[in-house]
Amino acid sequence: MRALLSGIGLAIALLGAISYAYGQKETELYIPIGQSPGLSQKYTSIGELAEVDPRAKTVTIADPAGRRTVKITEKTRIWLDRSKLKLTNLTGSFADLQQGRRVEVKYDDPQRREVAEWVKVEVSQP
């Protein structure tokens, strides 16, 4: 009986959401750079884009801790933070990752910090 229940348990666990609760990412779009509760600066990097490599699909961020190169994948969400212009934030693309722009990056792999889960790009000019 115990084995049966263990089996039930494991299988039901598989039926459930195995993925971790990423949070309701969709409202994240509207949170300005540096203001994500529990994330900003703790689990994200905020700095300037020092380099952009469209071929390798990587960007290098310069922040007070140094420079870090991060991979942008198909799953990486890119958002344009236009809150300083008092305009609505938009979904962006790799083309919006331009050298010199201020960004916030959340990592898909919090330990290694090699892949970006999302990038917020500050847009300060209309």
Partner: protein, 463 residues
């Protein structure tokens, strides 16, 4: 007694001499001593004030617009019908900027459904879900999960780190905005870190702080049988996912915490909201795109917080239990799996009497929780001083509301008429206490006694 009154009294006592005045002063100061400040209580109180009053410079809504304290921190069509047209809940009906794609007023009024853009804000007219308002009681027992914090109907209700603390930020963006541009600093302001701390502390303080330990020594014949069915992993199978009637699962002998499951609710035929002909897209649950799973709610608080399931598809607790007999559940991934492990290949199959028995059990444990909460606030009220009248009145109102719920929950199932009579008396006494100038504490103590008598009708009370 206030410090000013004490000072005045001291002026009237010079004839007793310095020593006498000093003695009086010491006694008076001792009487004036207030309880030492409790930082956690202060944080909860701040969170309460924010929850019910703070609009974050938005459209006028507060957290309390949908999570009403007088309605168990949720809303339903019956309650909604009592609100004035100008209530901020109905902002889509009178704010031109929010007329389109913010809410569906018909579905809100008829079924208590709220619009959520869980799969993104790119196509507001077509990509949205319509969900009921989950209560925020007993979150302490469920929000932490081995798979990460779980908030909202699909467990992924919060942005940022996905925590209950971050939940308010997402809620402000989704529900408090002045326009659909959703620009921080223009359409709303985001909660500060200190505000998020307070809101989290307040929400965690609500309702049960721990799970029940089943079985309970229930007295009612039908409820007692319902509890047996509930706990039977070969019959009701309820306790597998709702351990101790809470929100956590025990899987393979291990605590799986507050898990997500696909139970097929979205496959129910004749869902009330869809019968209207209004657009109600399929809700894909957790994640973007969703994996079809939804988060397990606690059951102790279920009977007085319907309608049930994420889409308010079922109105009664009996209907919610009966759902697990139906095709939608038994053809779902969860139902099919339960069937695959059953010697007779059955997912869940209960007869009508068994459905009613499980529902009776859920009604009784809900009423017991109502009584526990009523006793808690009445005891707090009885301990207050004469001049803490306003605070006492608030507590008594909460007791009246909770006791009223217990009456409804029991009478709705035709259960425990003797207990109901005691509960009616307890409510009457609490109401009188709330309006009494000189006998508030006496009447409160009588209300406590009536509640204890009611509880003793439902359960064997250990002395």
């Amino acid at each position: 007694m206030s410090a000013t009154t004490h000072a005045a009294n001291l002026h009237r006592l010079p004839k007793f001499g310095v020593a006498g005045a000093l003695l009086v002063g010491v006694v008076a100061l001792a009487a004036c001593q207030t309880r030492p400040p409790d930082p956690q209580a202060a944080l909860v109180a701040k969170g309460r004030a924010l929850f019910f009053n703070e609009t974050f410079n938005g459209n006028g809504r507060t957290c309390g617009s949908c999570h009403r304290e007088e309605n168990n921190f949720t809303i339903d069509p019956v309650f909604i019908a009592t609100l004035p047209k100008t209530d901020a809940l109905f902002v889509a009906e009178f704010n031109p900027d929010l007329k389109q794609n913010f809410e569906n007023p018909r579905l809100m009024r008829e079924f208590g459904l709220i619009l959520e853009n869980l799969d993104g804000f790119g196509d507001l007219a077509n990509r949205f879900t319509m969900r009921g308002v989950p209560h925020v009681l007993a979150l302490r027992t469920s929000v932490a999960s081995p798979q990460g914090p779980r908030t909202g109907w699909s467990g992924d209700g919060a942005p940022a780190d996905g925590s209950l603390r971050a939940f308010a930020t997402g809620a402000v963006i989704q529900h408090f905005t002045r326009t659909l541009n959703r620009v921080a600093g223009v359409d709303f302001r985001l909660p500060t870190d200190a505000e998020l701390d307070a809101l989290e502390a307040f929400q965690l303080s609500l309702g049960r702080q721990s799970d029940l330990q089943l079985p309970l020594p229930l007295k009612g014949t039908v409820a007692k049988r319902g509890q047996e069915i509930f706990l039977n992993d070969g019959l009701g199978k309820c306790n597998i996912c709702h351990r101790n009637a809470g929100a956590n699962a025990t899987l393979g002998g291990r605590d799986a915490g507050n898990a997500n499951f696909n139970t097929g609710v979205e496959d129910l035929p004749d869902q009330p909201a869809r019968l209207t002909g209004e657009r109600v897209p399929r809700d894909d649950g957790f994640g973007t795109p969703g994996n079809g799973t939804f988060n397990t709610p606690a059951l102790v608080e279920a009977a007085d917080t319907g309608p049930f399931f994420h889409n308010n598809a079922i109105q009664t607790i009996e209907g919610a239990v009966a759902f697990y007999n139906g095709q939608a559940f038994n053809n779902s991934p969860s139902g099919r799996f339960l069937a695959s492990t059953d010697p007779n290949g059955v997912g869940i199959r209960l007869d009508a009497t068994q459905v009613v028995a499980v529902a009776a059990f859920l009604r009784v444990i809900n009423a017991l929780e109502n009584i526990r909460q009523s006793l808690e606030v009445l005891t707090q009220s009885a301990a207050l001083g004469f001049f803490e009248r306003e605070q006492g009145e608030q507590l008594l109102k909460r007791a009246v509301s909770e006791t009223g719920d217990s009456i409804e929950v029991l009478t709705g199932g035709g259960l425990h008429p003797e207990a109901v009579a005691q509960l009616v008396e307890a409510r009457r006494l609490a109401e009188r206490a709330a309006s009494s100038l000189f006998n508030r504490r006496g009447l409160t103590r009588e209300a406590i006694q009536a509640l204890e008598l009611a509880r003793a009708q439902l359960i064997e009370v250990r002395k």
